[in-house]
Amino acid sequence: MSKLKTSKFGLGLAAGAMALGLSTAGIAGGHTDGFNGIGANITEKAVEPWDISVFYDGTNLPEGSGTVEAGQNPYDAKCAMCHGAFGEGAEGYPKMAADSMPAFIESLKQGLDGVGNRGVNNAWGHAPTLFDMIKRHMPFYAPGTMSVDESYAVTCYVLNLGGIVPMDFTCSDETLADVDMPARDYYVTDTRPDVANERCMSDCYDYEPKVVGAVVTGVSE
């Protein structure tokens, strides 16, 4: 689009051009009319460097492999400072190996803190997405910098810390989808609303309210 000059002379010229018969034929009608000529086509081949997402069932796992043993050095060097040498986590950083599935479920039923106790062995449904997370986002301070094989190896090491695969296991695009994750069958898709309050307007209850005050009266305290 040409830029209109803001001098009187320039504006006059532009107005004159309109009077002389600029086309109004370009005013578009429906929705996708407004897209004509915009953007570029792209081949799936060209998208490949970005198309890294791995599905829960292993679809799109890249070709490669890594053993539990091969994962130890990179894990110790790049992961253990946050997630612990044994996957036990650290202040504010998640555990890799936490309570077993039965113990985790029991803690939920008892209202104990199950959340700080999430690990790959109790709150992760599918091993391929563990690889995806590690390859995509780890190590935390240099995300996405591990090779495919190194990521398989670290995945394998973490799965072993969680007691999910044996020491001699090899994680690869061939094996990962079949790893039996303890939490896999515990997931249930949301069906909220799960509570039904009523819009009571008066005399809604007749007991003494049990009032509990805040324990933190200011964040620095």
Binding site: I38, G111, D203
Partner: protein
């Protein structure tokens, strides 16, 4: 006037490392002053039999700004709030996360008086820090089960038919620190993981038509260009979970409101909120509104990403783990009065608050000042829009007694905001996310306002 100004300094100043107990004593002292003086003057004469108004007899001082020249235009090329508003800022909770690059900050709703969150106060949630994406080089790819895989520049997106709407974004962890028990004596920290903006961009349904999405595609996912390359799966008609169970029909329609947003409150998105483009999925947990968006792929099953299997899930007391809890259900809170400020003396107040629902418009907000025994319908302030913050207000006379004040919103689907006890009965206290229960504040006789929970309500 000076007493009043001091009173309005929030308790949260203490959070910034100022010696907190001294500060608090100072505040209390100034409240006592205010109760007998300036604040009573501001409260009006509604309680004439109980509250005496002062009479000002000293001749007024000339304003210190009357005899000087102020700043010239563009002395501040991008305007900033008054220096007297420096306490109105986003804050974080240092012990909540190990590192600020994978953390969250909170919007100071206690200081806001509209439905729009100023861009510099929009809450932040990063998984690998905020990045500076150069719009000249940034591209959006749309591919997968489509007739025409395509790539768009930022200028391409701006040529397309635009869509503008005002929507809230809310982290599903809003209120999470209060699940297990009452904890934060500040409205900023109980409800600040939510912000509301006018968004402009391109509707996903328009783009879908342009690239020709295969009708057999039942999910798509969006992915960011930051270090976390955050990705979330979004269901469409016919979507099934990884067990082959169909998702509820209403969840499969949520995407129809979605857009690729490039503008926030009329200007470009802020880097912390996804500049130059973000996915925007109104009404849903904001983790799905992928920032620094680089790619959308149409597929026929969910990814079940880290975010969907380990992070944004809700372990329930029956031993199941709830997944794909996409919608932020109806919520509301009183932001005046609230624990971040003290009462300013007996007499008239206007209780004000905000309500929002991920399922549509707010239909009613009721307010109780007696702990939920009796309720009165508040006035909704126009405009009332779908998946958008709605303001409400109700006159209130404070006679110096203790009160438990709370708000309860109902949305256009008839869903009534639950009590905390109702939520805990179903979800226990380990589910972290989607806590939308009625929030009670206690007004003490001293004028202090406290965050409380009523365990049997």
């Amino acid at each position: 006037m000076s007493e009043t100004t001091l009173d309005q300094t929030p308790q949260s100043d203490a959070r910034e490392g100022v010696a907190s107990s001294d500060r608090r004593k100072f505040l209390r002292k100034s409240v006592a002053l205010a109760a007998s003086g300036a604040a009573a003057a501001a409260a009006g004469n509604a309680y004439a039999d109980d509250v005496k108004l002062d009479t000002v007899t000293e001749p007024l001082e000339i304003n210190p700004t009357r005899n000087i020249l102020g700043r010239g235009v563009v002395s501040v090329p991008y305007g900033m709030p008054s220096k007297f508003e420096k306490n109105v800022v986003r804050r974080n909770v240092s012990w909540l996360t190990a590192d600020t690059v994978a953390s969250i900050s909170f919007t100071p709703w206690q200081d806001l008086n509209g439905i729009i969150t100023p861009n510099g106060l929009h809450f932040e949630r990063h998984h690998a820090g905020a990045v500076d994406v150069d719009p000249e080089n940034h591209q959006l790819v749309i591919h997968g089960m489509v007739d025409k895989p395509m790539v768009f520049s930022m200028e391409d997106l701006k040529r397309m038919p635009s869509h503008t709407a005002i929507h809230f974004l809310e982290c599903p962890a809003n209120g999470a620190m209060e699940w297990r028990g009452v904890q934060m004596d500040s409205m900023q920290f109980t409800h600040g993981m939510m912000s509301c903006s006018e968004w402009t961009g391109v509707k996903i349904t328009d783009l879908m038509e342009y690239v020709g999405v295969d009708p057999k595609s039942t999910w798509f996912y969006a992915e960011g260009a930051d270090g976390s390359a955050l990705q979330r799966s979004i269901p469409m008609e016919g979507a099934k979970d990884q067990f082959g169970e169909p998702l509820p029909a209403d969840q499969c329609e949520l995407y129809k409101d979605a857009m690729i947003a490039y503008a926030q409150n009329g200007e470009a998105l802020r880097p912390e909120n996804g500049y130059p483009i973000r996915f925007l999925l109104p009404g849903c947990e904001a983790n799905m509104s992928i920032k620094w968006l680089r790619r959308i792929k149409f597929v026929d099953k969910p990814l079940v990403t880290y975010q969907e299997t380990r992070h944004y899930i809700e372990p329930l007391p029956d031993g199941t783990i709830r997944q794909f809890s996409l919608v932020n259900e109806t919520n509301s809170v009183i932001n005046y009065p609230c624990p971040d400020y003290q009462m300013q003396g007996k007499g008239a107040y206007e209780i004000r608050g905000i309500a929002w629902s991920g399922r549509g418009k707010i239909a009613h907000v009721d307010v109780s000042v007696d702990g939920g025994k009796n309720w009165q319908e508040a006035e909704l302030v126009q405009p009332v829009m779908s998946k958008c913050v709605t303001k409400f207000k109700l006159p209130f006379e404070w006679n110096g007694d203790e009160h438990l004040i709370m708000s309860r919103a109902t949305d256009e689907t008839g869903y009534v905001q639950p009590t905390l006890m109702q939520l805990r009965n179903v979800r226990g206290t380990n589910s972290i996310y989607h806590k939308n229960s009625i929030q009670a504040w206690k007004i003490e006789k001293t004028g202090e306002v406290k965050n409380v929970q009523i365990e049997n309500f």
